[in-house]
């Protein structure tokens, strides 16, 4: 099978869709985790609550992986029948990966910081945990919107 530039570009899109939100989530849960450890050092009973907040920036990585899978499915990589894409077809797929790739990266980090700030709420007023989660969840909105955009674009492309 001859490899086309289009295939390469499309695959690059899939790679970035997984890679960048993955980095964002890793940084995000890292930031929140560092903060969580500070709270738990003083009060080990708050492990459950802090874990909940720490996990929140992890979703971007999942959205990225999902988008990556849809791309691989779309270009036939998963079925074993890699489509011979033209350069422009490859660019279309690549473009559709961009929303979740970039928004995933930045929103993951931003959500990590919000979650870490929420740890302060858990430390001082554990009964108000829900408010800390809500603040972090608002950051999530934009990751979800980006995922939606990426998926709609992918479904819209017809080869």
């Amino acid at each position: 099978m001859e490899i086309t530039l289009g295939q390469f570009i499309a695959l690059l899109g899939a790679a970035l869709a997984v890679l960048l939100p993955g980095i964002g989530s890793a940084k995000g849960v890292g930031i929140a985790g560092e903060s969580a450890a500070g709270v738990v050092t003083e009060d080990p009973n708050k492990f459950g609550q802090t874990l909940l907040l720490q996990a929140m920036p992890g979703t971007q990585g999942i959205y990225g992986l999902l988008t990556g899978f849809v791309i691989m499915q779309k270009i036939g990589l998963i079925g074993g029948n890699f489509l011979p894409l033209t350069t422009y077809q490859g660019l279309l797929v690549f473009s559709s990966a961009l929303p979740i790739a970039l928004v995933g990266l930045y929103s993951g980090i931003a959500q990590g910081k919000t979650a870490a700030a929420g740890m302060g709420i858990v430390a001082k007023r554990p009964e108000e945990l829900a408010k800390g989660i809500t603040y972090a969840a608002i950051v999530e909105t934009y990751a979800v919107l980006a995922l939606l955009a990426s998926i709609l674009m992918l479904f819209g492309i017809k080869f």
Binding site: I31, E34, S35, A36, A37, G38, V39, T41, E42, D43, K113, A116, A117, M119, G120, A123, K124
Partner: protein, 330 residues
């Protein structure tokens, strides 16, 4: 800018254990020093007060606790500059005590405070050997200059002036490494000390050349500002301060000082100003502010407990103690 995620979260968790206004009231209501110590047993101080035999050793418990707090902050930030800003003053205090004791040939062992950056024993040894080369650079220079100053005019107060100058210049250098807020904090402290010095010196009628010796450089208000107003009526000094960032100090402390020259209210207003500045730390999620704020809160708490215990031991009425109480951080 470093965010100190772990350390700030830990500080937030520790803040809830600070002595609250409510608890302060209960400490005040306790009928004796022993009862006050009992009220404290439900706080973080409990184990420390358990270790000391008699309540008269309350300072030992307070300082041991403070030392552990310093260790927690050093470990969790990985940056000893935070606590140094609060610890250098104990080094200088110990050096002052030991130098002056050596001049008058008496021992003041019991007022040494063992929570500076250098162990008390080391400072003691250097003072008795008259060889300061083993001390950290700033203490060494400070000691040399203080000794030279004392030999020149045989006035122990000069020892204080010189050592305080070294202390605040070192604190300011350390604070600058931590960024703008820490710098603002130390500069403000310098201003507040200078304002206090200015007013006290005027009251006892000391010459302006001596005032110059006592003023500390590095604050927002230059020493020349105080010298300029030294011969003027107090009202014009107050007016000039009331258009600066210290307008609250004027309203709460200096106005009253002009009327009755009562140091209690003045010092309270000065201290409260700095506590208020530190309180910014409560509203910040990460970074230098919450950590410095917490350290100031602890510093203030130690002061509060000392005041309460000294007053309880000396059976001073609650209203008198209350007058002197500073605001709390929480």
């Amino acid at each position: 800018m470093e965010e100190y995620l772990y350390a700030t979260a830990r500080v937030k968790a520790l803040e809830i254990k600070l002595i609250s206004q409510n608890l302060t009231e209960r400490l005040l209501d306790a009928p004796s020093a022993e009862e006050t110590a009992k009220v404290l047993s439900e706080t973080e101080y409990g184990s420390y007060f358990g270790e000391i035999g008699s309540v008269y050793n309350f300072e030992e418990a307070i300082y041991k606790h403070l030392k552990d707090v310093f260790r927690i902050i050093d470990d969790s930030t990985g940056n000893p500059d935070f606590t140094r800003i609060f610890r250098y003053k104990y080094d200088i205090h110990n050096l002052k005590v030991l130098l002056k004791a050596s001049y008058i040939g008496e021992s003041y062992e019991d007022i040494l405070i063992p929570i500076g950056t250098v162990e008390v024993e080391r400072i003691k040894k250097t003072v008795s050997d008259k060889d300061f080369s083993e001390l950290p650079a700033f203490l060494k220079d400070a000691a040399h200059e203080a000794v030279a100053g004392f030999e020149l005019n045989h006035d122990p107060q000069y020892v204080d002036f010189i050592l305080d100058r070294y202390l605040y210049s070192k604190m300011l250098d350390t604070a600058k490494r931590l960024g703008d807020f820490a710098e603002e904090f130390v500069k403000t402290e310098i201003d507040l000390i200078n304002i206090n010095t200015f007013l006290r010196f005027r009251k006892i009628g000391i010459s302006s050349s001596r005032l110059k010796e006592a003023l500390i450089d590095g604050g927002y208000l230059k020493p020349s500002f105080y010298v300029e107003y030294f011969a003027e009526p107090l009202n014009s000094f107050a007016e000039s301060l009331s258009v600066s960032r210290y307008d609250r100090v004027v309203d709460e402390g200096i106005q009253k000082w002009i009327v009755d020259q009562d140091a209690t209210q003045l010092e309270k207003a000065l201290d409260n100003y700095l506590i208020d500045l530190a309180k910014q730390g409560k509203y910040e999620a990460f970074g230098v502010k919450p950590i410095l704020g917490f350290l100031k809160a602890k510093d203030n708490e130690a002061k509060l407990l000392r005041l309460i215990f000294v007053s309880k031991i000396n059976e001073i009425p609650v209203e008198k103690i209350r007058e002197r109480l500073r605001d709390t951080y929480v």
